[in-house]
Symmetry: C2
């Protein structure tokens, strides 16, 4: 058995990351979606351990000190981070791990874990992104403008990513993400130990 | 539109390369299978321009002199080569090109075209390869022993390849080859020019 792949996914709020990831988790065995830790309070309907691991600020900062995060970042006054231990356990069992994280966190992962593959999910256009954000009916126009502004800023980081997936049609975007996962499993560096006679 | 990907496939005689490739060509648009040139005489049923471009030795050597081959090699006294022009035309039209070539040719392509992706297709075991070669009923036991010996020698080159596909079940092997093609199309370096706002 070879080690799993670490797959990092970023993309603007509203681009449909969670839906694309959910589609891939449905159809691919041996893939684990990493649940982040956060100090942000749970929103209505959010479940501890499912949406996030909700922990307090003191504990988060202690864990930072102990080097327990593979990556962490502050965003709008709250911490968000990924537990190194859980990720490593899955990878060692040959399970691929998907992280859905911001561009800062993605850069940290790539620094600490160069073999991680990073994917940036983009909408077909900014106009379509604005349309999707409005359709969610959760944000004010002002908040939507802020999200679009942030999305434009994050686009500057795209050249650092290994892959771009365009979420125009969900099926196609999921197929592309799945293709990256499958191709990673075929890498010579991962498979060569399994091959008789090499 | 971005340039197509150059995909190089090698693997032992009898491993099922052609069947896996045919399966992928059926289900993937914009993929072109490159037909090699050879000085070997056509076998019964082989069609010029379909199985190979059959050319004579003098012409082959003239084309070598003119640098018209992306790669070429001699094998059992005959030349085999890939026309650079045809490959480049397809890639420039955004079409992915698959080459099915020997390990020497693959090394030449990788030297001349570092962005090419190379895939080595292996059987689940040497025992299974021997079984498949016998099932074809085209070779003597002596010839089969020679092919197996050659396969073992070629295995030394596997570490130079980007990917390993194990042809145990055809569907799974075809899915893996398809995944490499799709993942290549998503590479940031290929897609970034298509993205608005970068």
């Amino acid at each position: 058995m070879s080690q799993g792949s670490l797959i990092v996914i970023s993309g603007a709020s509203g681009v449909g990351k969670s839906t694309v990831i959910a589609k891939v988790l449905e159809s691919c065995a041996d893939v684990y979606f990493s649940v982040s830790c956060t100090t942000r309070p749970p929103r209505a309907g959010e479940v501890d351990g499912v949406n996030y691991h909700f922990i307090n600020r003191v504990e988060f900062e202690e864990r930072i000190q102990r080097g327990e995060f593979l990556e962490y970042a502050q965003y709008v006054g709250n911490y968000y981070g990924t537990s190194r231990k859980i990720v490593e356990e899955q990878l060692d069992r040959g399970i691929d791990v998907i992280l859905d994280i911001e561009v800062q966190g993605a850069a940290q992962v790539k620094d600490n874990w160069p073999e991680a593959r990073t994917i940036f999910i983009v909408p077909p256009s900014f106009e379509e992104l604005a349309h999707r954000l409005r359709a969610r009916k959760t944000d004010s126009e002002e908040k939507i403008a802020g999200r679009l502004q942030r999305a434009r800023e994050e686009y500057r980081e795209i050249p650092r990513y290994d892959y771009i997936v365009i979420n125009d049609e969900l099926e196609k975007a999921a197929e592309e993400l799945r293709a990256v996962l499958i191709a990673e499993r075929c890498r010579t560096i991962k498979r060569i130990a399994l091959i008789e006679g090499v």
